[in-house]
Symmetry: C2
Subunit: 231 residues, 2 copies
């Protein structure tokens, strides 16, 4: 007799974090329902990466949702503003703590649509690759924000009213990039197929915040390993 499968919706952008997350969720025994947002981001390459990662993972279903946040604007990732090269080049804004690459309410929009999808496919949980260390400037990556969204998921859905709310899981919330890289290597994630760069193009720009974080994470892991092997 087959046990009823566990189902999870995974927010998969095609970047390193969410790709590793999808591998992790599969590894712990869930059937995967991946969801990817085409929100008018500069980086079109990450959509291809998401599609490819989903295919390699053999997901049950991969939903691509088009929602044009360019129409709303307000971010360097969707507007015609220039993406800054590294944190030190971030232009001064009213609030220097919040990067210009912050997209207003983006994660709330993504989680909301994922919530609808999870309810329709009967998923037990939504997995979301937020991490609050490297992205400490983004309000919607913080633990208290995730908790608030859990309440919305519990109170705003049929599933919640019926007493089995959809769980919001963020296993990488306190991981830094090097821990995510280690997890990716452990799970044999094809890192070279993921796309983290905020820009589009044949190759990652190597200079934006996301490229720098990724590079630093990968370097630190390999440096550590090199040191260990020299002992």
């Amino acid at each position: 007799m087959s046990k009823k499968s566990k189902r999870a919706v995974v927010l998969l952008s095609g970047g390193l974090d969410s790709s590793t997350l999808a591998y992790y969720v599969k590894d712990i025994g869930y059937d995967l329902y991946t969801i990817t947002f085409d929100y008018g981001q500069r980086s079109r390459r990450e959509l291809n990466s998401a599609e490819e990662i989903g295919r390699i993972l053999g997901v049950k279903e991969h939903k691509f949702i088009k929602i044009n946040l360019r129409e709303i604007g307000g971010s360097a990732l969707t507007d015609e503003l220039e993406v800054p090269k590294g944190r030190e080049e971030m232009p001064a804004t009213e609030d220097p703590q919040i990067p210009i690459t912050y997209v207003p309410a983006r994660n709330t929009i993504f989680l909301s649509i994922s919530l609808a999808y999870a309810e329709v496919v009967g998923a037990d949980a939504i997995f979301y690759g937020a991490n609050c260390l490297d992205y400490s400037g983004y309000p919607d990556c913080r633990p208290e924000y995730i908790d608030a969204f859990r309440e919305v998921a519990r109170l705003g859905t049929k599933r919640g009213v019926e007493g089995s709310p959809i769980r919001i899981e963020t296993p990488f919330l306190f991981y830094d990039k090097s821990q995510i890289v280690k997890k990716a290597l452990e799970l044999n994630v094809p890192i070279e197929k993921t796309w983290s760069c905020y820009e589009d193009g044949e190759e990652p720009c190597g200079k934006c915040e996301s490229c720098l974080l990724r590079k630093k994470g990968i370097e630190s892991v390999f440096l550590e390993r090199a040191k260990r092997s020299l002992k």
Copy 2:
């Protein structure tokens, strides 16, 4: 010297409730930024109504956002399921308290996108025409849900972090339909230009839950007035 105008985002579906809400928000002195969702609903007429109401009101900006919830499904309003005629005809579901016209996480999705819009235009508040009496079966019309979303708005945005969170206002939360009709008459809302029907067509079907509620609300107000005038 001109005082800085107050700005409000108003969720305007084109129905009676949200149209009355938009009139109300203008009446209390806000500049209006209306937002209407084309989510693949059966009723295409309500989009025209929304557009017309916005035009009559002279809104500062009217944002139409396309997001195809049909791709996700799970509701009689977006799927190929039949819209039930009145509450008594609602088919038995797993949870008889929740109508088949419930769209999974719809209001959370709408509020999230409105939150992004409010942040970009610098609005003080989002006005949302939820009412929990006539729509008691919808989890995402309940006061506790609205409170949960307020926390998300506070914690998940730049504005919240900066200490001036975008307010979520639901002035009709405890109104029943006849109170909304009274408010509409008081504010000279062109009721005949609003569209509440869940179906599309030249004329409202007159039989769906939304038509019945509207009819009941309007009748009760006029009946009351007729009685008073006979005294």
